[in-house]
Symmetry: C2
């Protein structure tokens, strides 16, 4: 078994060196990494071929093999991604004034990298380059642990990126791939809080629970997306219908797709038939409460405990509610703190919803599908947090930094 | 054994209600709590008397009994503390604009409470009122678990605060004291990440390690304070001496006291004798490297591995360094990410130190003793974090909030 403690220590040492790099140096390195990924395409494709063949031998399904497979175009996409990251604003070293104390001390805060970040993800080789690029840009060392099926590809991609680090006298350990797929290594790694500052698992709920349970290192958790649209009595039906259809059908398998529709009883008789038509035309299966059934045919009755499912498919759970309070109570009970949407032209209702609903993204008259780092203007997304510590919601590279205090004086002492 | 899961669930339910309270309502409640603490002083003193008598019977030392004991003045201090918290700026519901997207979506962030916070602390009844006040002000429910020696006092204080909550139709479970000192309850509580959002342990390193190891809930860690003063070759000796004396001797038993002195070799011959005189006059025992011994008598030689101690006493570890890089390397190796100070009139050296040193508070020409929430102007301090996730350094009540995204549109959908 490899020595994960040594990998983590080397990453921590490398992280200390990254604070010395200027924004320009980091961006040059990222752009060179992009160029070199394109240049070394054959080596990467060859490693990927080994992974894909093994995956086929092991009987992986077509969707998994598709995610695993690299092509020249996909390598170019990874390179483009690194160039985009190089073009993002610098997030390290930003200072802001907090205040001046009566004794003359000047108090500021300044952004600093977190240190060492461990990314645990599925068998998607492109995440190797993406995550490494985002961590490097934000001054963090990264330890990458992708699904075992993509190990050869990840090692090949990381080797290219490390070769650029070497050329610039940056410690290669700033980007490490765990070269052994043994799960015991992950379990051991999760105890190394002396060296690793943050773990970001991307994958199913089981993985995230496993990591949380076993980690002594802080974990960014993204459990699931059970997003609702609440159609208020003051909703504009055209907006509501397009937001509903977009949220449910544009890409049903992702976490910011709609899973629930709540409709104010005052508009249910008018809105629900339109909604049902628009959804069923696009192949959506309707589930809902007894009241929903009274307005729309072909609705599968849901018992109370059957609400709150993350379908990730062309299914939706519909409930007629008495008022906004009941809508918010439903969201509080069944939502996943991911994204919740109100459709209303009533500013008071929108304000109440925005203030009261506990979700990482609360939207008014917009599709839940915008709940995404690049759609929100964060430049790139390293993950999305549905728990509240450190980050809540889509995380840009700013989330990979923290702030230290700077205190400047002229010899002040405490009385 | 009490049902901690039920306590946690009730706290979570209570937390959801707190978001409805306006700043004015919260401040009224806090002020009434303060008044009622003074009014109910006899009941609190009587409960405290039981605690103190038990502590004496169990042979607790005088310092612990002193921390445990309440007096009318100390109750008044607690009440004053709540009034101060009532006077702090509101931290919940603050909105800031992130940007407008090309499609017209307006992106904001808005502060929200974390939810349920668990405070674990030593036998200091005043922390019960302080922590409850800070959590309530920031819209969080709190579960309080003080040292078993102060349980009766804590229950009496919380009962007074809860009675005010009741009068205002706020769920009492917003402030809960765990009524059973069994440690197993804490261990079980640390698994309740469905209900509790943050654990803040205050106490020795052993307690914090225990909580971190056993918690599935995020933990704010404050391991220790090994703070250094680096006296640069461009230091003003008067400033350096007063910062040194203040940092080491004003209150040696606290985490922001100085434990180490690093002196640039170019000024060591001049500075160290002055420093040694000032320190030894105040009863400080000097420890240091061989070079230090060559400039000053009566220095206990330290081996490399003996640096980095958290003395919490009138002891200091001194090292002569070749340059600022060596000083920073020493800090990187032996510091605790708490507070690090440079004394220098050279702006370039100060900038390098501020940028490079990884500590939650980095100071220039000021005493480490200012590394404290109220001294930095945070109004009050709920704790200090020496790890980087969520909070780094002294934590004001802002640290008990997070931000959600608000997205406002006019019917936008994703293409």
């Amino acid at each position: 078994m490899i020595n994960i403690s040594e990998i983590a220590q080397q990453a921590a040492t490398a992280a200390k060196g990254l604070i010395k790099l200027s924004a320009e140096q980091k961006n040059t390195i990222l752009n060179e990494m992009a160029a070199k990924l394109r240049e070394q395409q054959d080596a990467i494709l060859s490693a990927n071929k080994t992974d894909v063949e093994q995956a086929r031998d092991n009987g992986l399904d077509a969707a998994m093999i598709d995610r695993l497979m690299l092509t020249p175009e996909r390598i170019d996409d990874m390179a483009n991604g690194l160039e985009t990251v190089a073009g993002l604003d610098e997030v390290v070293g930003r200072e802001r004034l907090i205040g001046q104390r009566p004794n003359g001390l000047e108090i500021k805060k300044k952004t600093v990298p977190l240190g060492v970040i461990c990314m645990i993800y599925e068998a998607r080789p492109n995440v190797t380059a993406d995550a490494a690029g985002l961590c490097f840009k934000s001054g963090n060392a990264v330890i990458l642990r992708g699904g075992k099926e993509c190990l050869n590809s990840s090692l090949a991609i990381a080797a290219v990126m490390q070769s650029v680090l070497r050329q610039h006298q940056v410690a290669e350990a700033a980007i490490s791939v765990i070269p052994d797929p043994d799960r015991k290594i992950v379990t051991e790694m999760l105890t190394l809080d002396n060296w690793i500052d943050l773990v970001i698992p991307r994958g199913g709920e089981g993985l995230i629970r496993y990591v949380t349970k076993n980690s002594q290192i802080p974990v960014i958790q993204h459990y699931k997306g059970v997003c609702h649209l609440y159609v208020d009595k003051a909703a504009d039906f055209d907006k509501a219908l397009s937001i509903l259809v977009n949220g449910k059908t544009q890409r049903p398998g992702v976490c910011n797709a709609l899973e629930g529709l709540l409709v104010h009883k005052a508009v249910a008789a008018d809105f629900l038939p339109l909604a049902a038509k628009a959804l069923t035309e696009r192949g959506v299966t309707l589930h809902g409460c007894a009241q929903t059934q009274s307005f729309v045919h072909d609705v599968n009755l849901l018992s109370e405990s059957e609400f709150g499912q993350e379908y990730l498919s062309l299914d939706i759970a519909i409930r007629v509610v008495d008022d906004i309070d009941q809508a918010m109570a439903h969201i509080s009970k069944f939502g996943s703190n991911h994204t919740e949407v109100i459709c209303s032209e009533d500013e008071v209702a929108a304000e109440v919803f925005k203030h009261m609903v506990d979700a990482s993204v609360v939207m008014v008259n917009a599709s839940s599908r915008f709940s995404d780092g690049s759609e929100l203007g964060l430049g790139a997304e390293i993950g999305i947090a549905t728990t509240k510590l450190h980050a809540y919601g889509p995380m840009g590279i700013e989330s990979l930094t923290t702030e230290k205090y700077l205190v400047c004086g002229t010899g002040q002492v405490r009385g």
